[in-house]
Symmetry: D2
Subunit: 296 residues, 4 copies
């Protein structure tokens, strides 16, 4: 049992903190939303008066925040938690942010003699609740080893991607690829449909051929082809278009900073942004299939 501070109890952070409690840890939580804190307390967490109070005596600090600017504010600016935590506290930032900020935070921590890992997740709210998230972790071998038992309370696949920032890089690469897969699969299936093919048959053929990919395997974007996925539920639930667009922005940031050409990710971003602009930001990202449909 470890003493863990958890800051940021949104759709993802809330159930993650609950899973830590369930695993027997002593969890102090903080969030600006009283309702979010309330849910965590119901789940067995302790409510701290502030983020600073939360980290008192903590062996782990886990943060789950919307963007790099919030992480930076909490770590070294407004809350300055890196100045408040004890030297042997491991800081785990599970927010999805740009790699540059992640590396900067790791350096700030290191300057204070503190260990820090970036550990963004994939798997969505469902994975957060079920404790089956994937974690992509950037940091030293030692820090990774220390983070592992805690992360295993919240997730299933825990990857050590490399040094500081590597977790964020891996997630940016993966989600850019995911956008490419979903947009590409949608347009390919749509072209088949326009030629009179049954999307179920075409999906079956492609998933057994060289066009096989995650979207065809477990997340088919065409309504009615696959059960239990957002496309068969009016594109409700799942991973929102707005979040995919956010992640594609992070991928562009990384492409710019590392001078990496990403014409395919850029094309996918164009497609998702066109879809988002028409008021579809709140739908599951597989709804991009609709962008391709003929309505003439």
């Amino acid at each position: 049992m470890a003493k863990i501070a958890f800051v940021g109890l949104g759709n993802m952070g809330g159930p993650m903190a609950a899973n830590l409690v369930k695993a027997g840890h002593d969890v102090s939580v903080f969030d600006l939303s009283a309702a979010a804190v309330g849910h965590a307390v119901e789940a067995g967490a302790h409510s701290a008066e502030s983020s600073i109070a939360a980290v008192e005596g903590a062996e782990y600090l886990i943060t789950m925040l919307p963007a790099g600017v919030h992480v930076s504010s909490v770590m070294v600016k407004k809350d300055a938690l890196l100045d408040k935590v004890s030297k042997d506290c491991l800081v785990i930032d599970s927010s999805t942010i740009d790699a540059a900020t992640a590396r900067e935070m790791a350096q700030e921590a290191s300057d204070r003699g503190i260990q820090f890992v970036d550990a963004p997740v994939s798997g969505g709210v469902g994975g957060a609740v079920a404790g089956t998230l994937a974690f992509m972790v950037g940091g030293s071998e030692e820090a990774f080893a220390k983070a592992l038992p805690v992360l295993e309370c919240m997730g299933k696949n825990i990857f050590h991607a490399g040094d500081s920032g590597a977790g964020q890089v891996a997630k940016a690469c993966n989600n850019m690829m995911l956008a490419v897969l979903m947009a590409g699969t949608s347009e390919a299936l749509n072209m088949g449909i326009n030629n009179g093919l049954d999307p179920k048959v075409l999906s079956e053929i492609m998933s057994k051929s060289s066009g096989n990919n995650w979207a065809l395997q477990v997340y088919n974007p065409v309504p009615g082809v696959m059960e239990g996925v957002p496309s068969s539920n009016d594109y409700q639930g799942g991973f929102m278009v707005d979040l995919m667009c956010k992640d594609l922005g992070l991928a562009m940031d990384n492409s710019q900073a590392s001078r990496s050409p990403v014409p395919m990710g850029s094309a996918a971003r164009g497609v998702f942004n066109l879809h988002q602009a028409k008021g579809n930001g709140g739908l599951d990202f597989s709804s991009v299939f609709r962008l391709f449909n003929r309505e003439d």
Copy 2:
């Protein structure tokens, strides 16, 4: 045992005909290249003096030709085999051509009371030799049923994609998707490398996450990540860039004819054409990874 005429004995057609012989069929072959005919004869086929002679008494006619214009020439123009075959001969065109020509040929055959299926393959020369090709078949249920035992002598996965032309459509959709997968995977792995990640580790992470796709699973484009693939053999062998560019042209034809928007396939075509223009047409298509590499 069936009497089969086989026209077109190139890199693919040659070993396909040999597998038919091996399965016990009586195979009459024709090709403009005497050397190609010679190899087939060595394998046990009979050499016919002309394509017209080859189809005499044939229960099946199989064609394997470079483009729609050749299929059209052989079927209804120069050789006019549809006027020469017997009424109960099943015509199987395994060439990869545009769906429009495939449908036209099926109609021409139907006008003469002859059954015709389009049955393009995937699996490359290796699959042709090993008899493990995938066939994507367009035509009636009846014609498909009749083609099946013959196709099984040359392939492993035999898909009935739908009516006439559907085989070509399925192949165009699949190979367009494949181009998207390979270009997208290449640029994602390259961005990871530019950030200091080990491509083996990043490939492992993505293949267990939502970025998973055929290229990551069996055809990694980064030299040294996977054994026995073209990327670890100087991009020799495999599926040539020139052929991928040909298939992307067919995908564009289909997109145009069916008014299907394909921004992702178009972006992939742009990428492969840029790569081809620099003299890489003869390399395996996973060599597109090199296009993204930083050389500054």
Copy 3:
């Protein structure tokens, strides 16, 4: 005064033939539509019973047809006019078709000792009526010189682009560029608007800077910025999205045949096809601006 046969009296061909009459030429016309012929006769042309009758004694044959397949049919297949015209008749094909067919027709003509030029136009129905079309001509110097006085009756800018096919190539390059300009200008102005800028002010700035282009100068896609253009008339009239999509298909054909990478033209084609798919094919092509608008 010359004796001119004119085949194909659509929205473009009709007014072009009328301008030839107006210039004093003796014009025999043919079209499958009786109504189209009727209008030409009202304008002073003679109605021929067939295309073959039309070319009898003609010094010039001008064709204005929808696609390469029609030109081929009229020239060497169904009507076989190249076998009917006199040896000193100059054949001018003003249809917008693929360069390959244009070159093939020129060769077929040359085989029969006849001169042929490809001479596609730009300028739309308005230009056809006003006699201010631009002609892009492919063929020998001699043939161009002979065509010039006749083309000047229908157009203002007559360009000699090069040898046979060059007219079609020039038009494909130009219209692909036009699609790039219109899509790019639309998205740039839309981004300005999303940032609170006045599109009139931003258009003014860009048209005096390095972003200047034809769309900003004479065909602004944002409603209300410029008078007398389709964007200020609900995108009625002008150059239809369907026609732009047709021309982008021809550009892709040329890119494929000449192995020329066209990532920008491909991206523009993706954009216009997405717009077309939503039932906008009959609107002016500057309506692509609407694709980018935020509606959330």
Copy 4:
């Protein structure tokens, strides 16, 4: 004659400051590079010991810095010049940075009762030396009016784009469009060349047709078509690929922040990044023409 502080004397800032001196202004300069300061002093400027010293008594502060982070540092962090300048000093930031930082700086200035305009330039080093830059200005009418006479000493076209940030937005839109124009023009001319057309003839045709744009008019990317442009000087001088890539990054930032779909700008960015990755960052941006050339 006004008292002007000028901070940032790079390739652009140096000659801009010199032109202010030439116009009779009293200019105090600061830069971290002693050499850069030396050149300005030779031109007649006064060397200040620090940026803080430079702004003492200044009626105008002009900054010309590489990126938003530097502007922010100089204005409100390290140097905190907004706390040092007098209340009636007009601050003009001519750096090309993201609109978000520009708006933030304007707000910081406003909080202190100081007027601030963003005024990025276009026209390159040549324009800076000749005093013919274009300025795109964001800020109030009053601040614009006050800035105008000073900007006119350094430039020719001074545009008032709108409120704070609008100058940066206008520049991002314009330069994104420029990238689209140059990439599109390059690929169109290359396709013409691959078809045997003379690029000079094709450029002439397109510049008189609907494909007309700034690149065709004054900056043709094909060597030998136009005199006095970088393409006819081995792509030396002009506007570097690295700078175009920087500007495209700013355009992506703006697209992300304003949720504006920019598929064409994204495609252009992909093209320029592929070109940059092969070691061409220091060449003029019209060298992107080489990316399309066939070398097979």
